[in-house]
Amino acid sequence: MKKNILSALLLLISVGLQAQEKGTLLIRNGTVLTITNGIKENSDVLIKDGKIQKIGTGLKAPSGADVIDAKGMYVMPGIIDAHSHIALSAINEATSPVTAEVSTGDAVNPLDIAIYRALAGGVTLSHAMHGSANAIGGQCETIKHRYGTVDPEELKMKGAPRTIKFALGENPTRVHGSGNGILPRTRMGVEEVFRNSFSEANEYMAGWNEYNAKKNQKGFKGVAPKYDLRLETLADILKGNIIIHCHSYRADEIYMLMQVCKDYGIKRLVFQHVNEGFKVAPELAEFGAMASVFSDWWAYKFEVYYSTAYNATILTENNVVTSINSDSRELIRHLYHEAAKTQKYGSLPNDKALSLITINPAKQLGIDDRVGSLEEGKEGDVAIFKNHPLSIYAVPMYTIVDGIVEFDRENDPADMRIYPNPEEQIDVTIAVSDSEYDRCMQDTEFLFNH
């Protein structure tokens, strides 16, 4: 019995260790697309204990290290998706226009097969976002695709900056204004939600500041303000500790949020989707706001009817730090192809097109000092392609996270589920008509079933 407990304990420890494991790996003779430092032909990338130790030629593999022969292949940084909902068991806390207190980090699902399928598209890291039902939604989680672990904590990228989801336009006004009959029903109301919330947070902070300043004074008789996680979070935004990632479409609402942020001294602002970002590209650039866009999605709802697939190019050429995201468990599997569409729509050069799915999303998540390019000292997240990743003939061959090979096209079995449901008898065949649009609005269907 004791032995059983002991082995169970050992198993637990080994599961933990395995997930935290950092790999040592030599990738040889590839065409290395560093993103930040040009292209290095016939070069090696040595990853030691999960970090890129050296990029060069004729590198020796440490004893016992795995070696990948990448001759004739392209080696690039692991692809980063700045907008995704994979690996989440809940997306929208659609119960109030402001839910800054909740966090998708509490709903991470490491069993989601979509993580593996994203890896099979070269994606090593994603931003697991709250949905867009609320003007101020929940906090989001930046996750690394360490597929195979059953511990949600192991997916989290420790030390990544905190982020929060905001949303403008049709979704919050539909859910709360039309759905619940409360503000916001219009884009005017959405602005009001932000101004109210930040003003309350300012008062909250002032209350605490006053209390903290006086509490140790002799004869102080006051009590601490009531602790409020929602206001704490909003205060952290005002202090610059949390990056806003705001679901947005129309130029006017994008402009509005920039004005609000200016008024409250908020600088860390990334717009998501931002289909009409191209219309206010000079203003975005001046503010220093960034943009994470679809390659070509449009017309699925009215607020994206006046958009263009040239959005990413126009934003990039106007010096807005731009990324291409998926917001879809389908699209996340071929972000390299989505980035290539900027060459159809605006003829972006290779380096700029690849930046859209590597260093730029890393900047938007505040992790560009750790990932997003192949540089010595950065984390060993790598995607290896047969054919250039921007070509339609590109095939992801290996995907590596922290030096661990998580995807190997030649050697992975077909069934990669971690936990098959033993009770499921009838096959789940996902009809093609089940479109993935608006995953951002998942968990809000109950509001519209009448």
């Binding site: 979509a114 000079p282 017309a299 006046y306 126009i314 468990r329 990669m416 008509s433």
Partner: protein, 434 residues
Amino acid sequence: MKLIKNILCAGAVFMAFAGYAQSSKGKSGTFALTNATIETVTNGAIQNGTVVISEGKITAAGTAVTVPSGAEIIDCTGHVIYPGMIEGGSRLGLTEVNSDARTRDFSEIGEVIPQIQALTAVNPNSVLIPVTRVSGVTTSLALPSGGMFPGTAALINLHGYTPNQMYAGFKGIVLNYPQSGRRGRFDRRTDEEINEAAEKALKNLNETWGKLAEYHKLDSTITASGSNEKLDYYPEMEALLPVYRGEMTLLIEVNASNDIRSAIDWVKDKNLKVIFTGVSEGWRVAKELAEANIPVVTGPVLSVPTREYDRYDRPYANPGLMQKAGVKVAIRNNGAENVRNLPYDAGFAATYGMGREEALKAITINSAEIFGLEKELGSIEVGKIANLFIADGDVFETKTQVKHVFIAGWQIPMESRHTKLYDEFLERSPGVKK
């Protein structure tokens, strides 16, 4: 005087409005596309060739071509001429802003409404159409959806001002074959409920078909007797009768492998003209499909595997696996606003096993053949309708630019909402400061 002023004003307003019309006009005439690589699809590639377009048709294609006098010459040096891509089943023209029910016209109320005509609801002035055709997709099957027999699909060319001007010569009646599986992750029904629903749906189908058989008998008897008697007005059966008699195509939408098997069985002794559409699990039953000699329009290729335990690349590989087993395969995008991505659906199929040549056929000649229009569409051949486009490279490569598009001989303006917004906003003026 005031009246004249008002009329002038109205005229000015009208002209201003016309200035904002969504597209410049197409241009017809005689065109000579010279010095091109011609991807004929049916006869290989011709280097340094010329294609002549006149009166809507391809009148010459090859290396020894005399350019007719008066022809407008388009120098295609370094460029490739492809036949127009054919989308095998989409909502293009039937929807505008998909979240807005007022702009959705693809799904009518009713389980058995085969007489409902998709062509009627095609909006020739949809903003989505120019966005699609400037990428080289010239033709699309407008597909109704919904109940068991949701209507009649119609093939349209993506240029024209009335549905009839756009009509490209093929109609087919859609049957959504009963689904026996769970419809997806959000299908909360129990196994029993699913089985019951599937049995009931198949029973409904067979009952409808039984009525049709009776209708056919009555109609045949009346015709044979030469009597003037007419059957009671029954538009559903009237629409289905040519399908029953094998004179009109039945497009059977079917995806799960069990359902495909069941559908193969269902059509077996019926002597129908049949196309299977969707067929996302065709790779599981490719041999049976080939043996049954049923052509397939499959897609979207860029979709998630139908089952959690399937290999991640099955949707990419599906068209190639069916084609290699001997199935005639066409590829569809199945969307609406992004049907322009059809070459990428085919491109992924090409990359994951189908190969370039077969993938190109799957969006050109195979589609034409499946729709019975192999004499009119799908390749660069003399006598065919001049649906073609000129690109600066491989049609599948994402970066490739489409330079010119011709639809039924009309030169299409290379502009859309997307290009116009690019032109206006790449270097916005005024910028930050006015």
